[in-house]
């Protein structure tokens, strides 16, 4: 499954290959992106989630890196 992730700040779209499973934990997506859970906040379909929640095919995943923007 390819998970489409929008990363902030910036709003860049990143495609993440998470292997053949249909459902993967957010933790897997973060690992593939090289983020540690305490460095980010994640929403799936607009709702805040922890790294233990899961991502399904077609979900909108947004990863917000914790940093000041200006």
């Amino acid at each position: 499954m390819i998970v489409e992730v929008v990363t902030y700040p910036g709003g860049e779209l990143v495609k993440v290959d998470v292997g053949s499973k249909d459902v993967v934990p957010v933790a897997v997506v973060l690992r593939r992106l090289g983020y540690r859970p305490y460095e980010v906040v994640v929403t799936v379909n607009g709702e805040l989630v922890t790294e233990d929640d899961v991502v399904r095919d077609g979900d909108l995943v947004e990863v917000y890196k914790v940093m000041s923007v200006g």
Partner: protein
Amino acid sequence: MAKCRVCGRRAVIKIYYARTALCREHFIQFYERRVERAMTKYGLVGKGWRVLVAVSGGKDSVSLLHVLKRLSDKMGFEVLALHIDLGIGEFSSRALSITEGLCRELSLPLIVFRIRDVLGIGVPELAKLARRPPCSVCGMVKRYVINAVAVEVGADVVATGHNLDDLAANALKEFLNQNLRGVGKLGPKTESISGIAVGRVRPLYDTPEREDLAYALVNKLPFVRTRCPYVAEDSIERYLKRYLNELDVLFPGVKVSFMRRLASNLSSYYSEEGVRKCRYCDLISSGDVCTYCKVTARVLGEPAGPKTREYIKLLVKAIHLAR
């Protein structure tokens, strides 16, 4: 699936340093109670006070404005918002529209200061002419304007969105530079000096940056999601924040305990010696002329303090906020 420590429902956030997880409702409660506790513990506001909140449109100040609005009835203070349009193209336009939208939603009065209206140029051009880094000029302009507006509206304090991570990284930076006077300014508040300076308060003093972001997201607050084009990618503060967060994972609570200890020890670092009034604008200065007047006089041919204060007077009068 992580469960909320309080109610057992699905958790939306893990708070690593507290080794806990919370659902939406209990996270909001946790966040708001901590801000309220900080305000009480550090004596940041009093009943009937007018609090001017500096709102950039970023996650911290947007969360701050929201939580202060929620606490204002309970704690009995008034909230006004100030946004400074720094003239940084699309970034500034977006920040302004976000701040306007939020203030409308929260029914809060908003003062918008546009630097181009006063100086004819934005921060990037001013920085270029002054041959100083944009972030340094931006900080200087913001400090000046925030104080000038606060004096004009008769605010009792100015609240800023500086969070635990910002302040801890800054404190370490000042220690590294052995600027101990600078360390002394990183407490939860500074005092007002009659007629020339309004005290600053930092209600997010104990609040990690990550939780400001989470609070903005769970409340679906609008905030700026792009980086300022002038922000320094490799600033020392950024590295220090990263190291402090790694340290906080290894030694949970080290960050907040550092800043709380600092708050109780500020008098060892700071004294108000040398505070004067600027010859041109009559606001606080460390010398005969404040930095804002000095820089604008050098770059634009005249100190901009007096006309900035005139412009602010008109702004305040126009929205009937004068006291």
